[in-house]
Amino acid sequence: MPVDDASYRAWDGQARPSAMASVAIASTMVRRLLRQRLLKALVIFAPVIACVVASLVFGLIAEGKVRIDGAGRPPSAPDIASAVRTMFGDSNLLAYLNRMFFPSLLSLAVIVAAFAGAPLIAEDRRSRSLALYFSRPIRHFDYVAGKFLTLFFFLGLFLLAPPICMYLTDCALSGEGTAAAHLGTFGRSLIPGAVACCLYGALAIGVSSLVERTNHAVLVFFGIIMLAFFAGNMLARGVFRDPSWLAVSPFSAIQRITSDVLPIPRQFVQDNYVASLDLSAAWWSVSLWTGGSLAMLIWRIRKVEVVA
């Protein structure tokens, strides 16, 4: 067709409304959100830092194993490597690295969830584009799933890419047999990230469906996380002096789950107070926060569509 042909042409293809609508929503939204520099920098930052840290640690270990003269190398490298290996053992070191790295990721993931999740429905409401979405043959499920996939892309990249990068670096630098030997630890290292993805994702999108302005959604999301964190700690440490109250905070609950799935020697655990939270209470907390956010989202999205 000539580029300037302005005549109307019939389309002879076959349109097939399907579940791929959610993929279409997700891919379009991801491309749009990636134009935000802060978000782009955050999701690239985490895996890069993870690679650098893992390369240093496993590289030092590997160097300690190789019998070559020390010329040209930092003189302490083999000693550090040897000391680290003695303390942890091979598989525990991967768990320790993930455990050390995860709380920072979990804190920063709040920012990722807020900035990637807050505009997803709030902007559609404000711009009234829901009228366009729902004039197409899509279901509520497709719309919500598309928004979730968008947020999972960002949260997944931020929370799951670092353990993957660490495992791959470990495999690359620690010699043969590492991939199989550390597979279990690697699998467990993905669990806290996956749990946080679901919880933060559901909460951020749920909040996004409540308001019409992105800024408000960001503030409400931050407010809920911070309020729950301070309330949990205040109730647990001050008012009731019972660590069960830490379960009020999703942040503490996820940290407790992390300590369960990635156990490391007790002397390396910096704050034991979260570890005193009952594990089942932590899982209940995560389930209630995620389920409650989803229920709010489902209730809200039906109302929103009607008034779109």
Binding site: A21, R136, V306
Partner: protein, 303 residues
């Protein structure tokens, strides 16, 4: 029959938006006329399956309340309000909506370019849609409605916010779609001229119920008792004779004559005999769509 409703009613709290709407709409372009708040947009949304309502409806042979996705796959909707997805280029918006309609990604992208050229936005494809002027946004919404090549188009106030030139261009595009590409169109508007230019049939809504419907030619063909008469000579005497016989005659030529109630054109010829004026032309004055609309809107509500 493209579209059919049977005793369709919809209320929002105590406000009745649709009140027992029963209508049938055939192929081609049909206008949906009514003052603001008459229920036009609500009717479109019920027919899209976006709102539940009492009664039954059928769009392209499908019940929109039972199978809304099937209906939406076969029709294109151009909403009245500003509703573009923020932060996307024009062509990406159209392509995205094509994908949501079930088109494969590549086909949607190629088709998006075609329809952007058709609506006259070819050169503006790669601009952020939120930077578009009102006229361009209206064109973009038409492109979105057309991207999956639907059989039926619901166009809600498509000329809103357009300047006279933009309005003409938009109406020309819509008329071309109906005339040359056999698209069925339901054009909702409060602008009578828009409907008159594009549509063959019209449905007039008032207070949520159907006030008039039918072929525009038939609706405007009703007797008004008014005629335009051209006479070759004795203008003044002709007017005086008409006045004597009880008619109202204008001072300008051709003479606009309004006959008294019950009188026929025989009265005009009687006046011409009396004044010895030679009648060169006689034409009945048709009712305008505006006359029909005002009658429909102002007559007492049956309900």
């Amino acid at each position: 029959m493209i579209l059919q409703t049977n005793h369709l009613s919809k209320s929002f709290g105590t406000t009745v938006a649709l009140d027992d709407v029963t209508l049938e709409i055939g192929a081609g372009a049909t206008g949906l006329l009514g003052p603001n708040g008459a229920g036009k947009t609500t009717l479109l949304r019920v027919l899209l399956g976006l709102l539940p309502a009492k009664g039954t409806a059928s769009v392209l042979g499908v019940d929109p309340m039972r199978s809304p996705r099937e209906v939406r796959a076969r029709l294109g909707y151009m909403p009245e309000s500003e509703c573009l997805v923020p932060g996307l280029y024009g062509v990406d918006t159209v392509s995205f909506m094509g994908r949501l309609a079930g088109m494969p990604a590549r086909a949607a992208f190629k088709r998006a370019h075609e329809v952007m050229y058709f609506v006259g936005l070819g050169e503006e494809r790669y601009r952020d849609a939120s930077e578009y002027s009102t006229g361009m946004q209206q064109r973009l919404k038409l492109a979105i409605a057309l991207v999956h090549d639907p059989e039926l188009l619901f166009l809600d106030e498509p000329t809103n916010g357009l300047d006279p030139r933009g309005r003409d261009e938009m109406l020309t595009l819509i008329a071309e779609l109906a005339r040359d590409h056999q698209k069925h169109i339901l054009l909702s508007s409060h602008l009578l001229k828009d409907v008159e230019l594009v549509c063959r049939e019209v449905v007039m809504l008032r207070g949520g119920s159907v006030a008039r419907r039918g072929d525009i030619k038939e609706l405007t063909a009703g007797q008004t008792g008014a005629y335009l008469v051209t006479v070759a000579n004795h203008d003044a005497e002709f007017r005086a004779s008409l006045t004597e016989l009880g008619a109202v005659a204008s001072a300008k030529s051709p003479v606009h004559v309004v006959l008294p109630l019950g009188a026929t054109t025989e009265l005009i010829f009687e006046a011409s005999r009396r004044s010895q004026a030679r009648v060169k032309g006689l034409m009945a004055v048709r009712r305008s769509l505006e006359d029909v609309f005002l009658d429909a809107v102002e007559e007492p509500h049956a309900g």
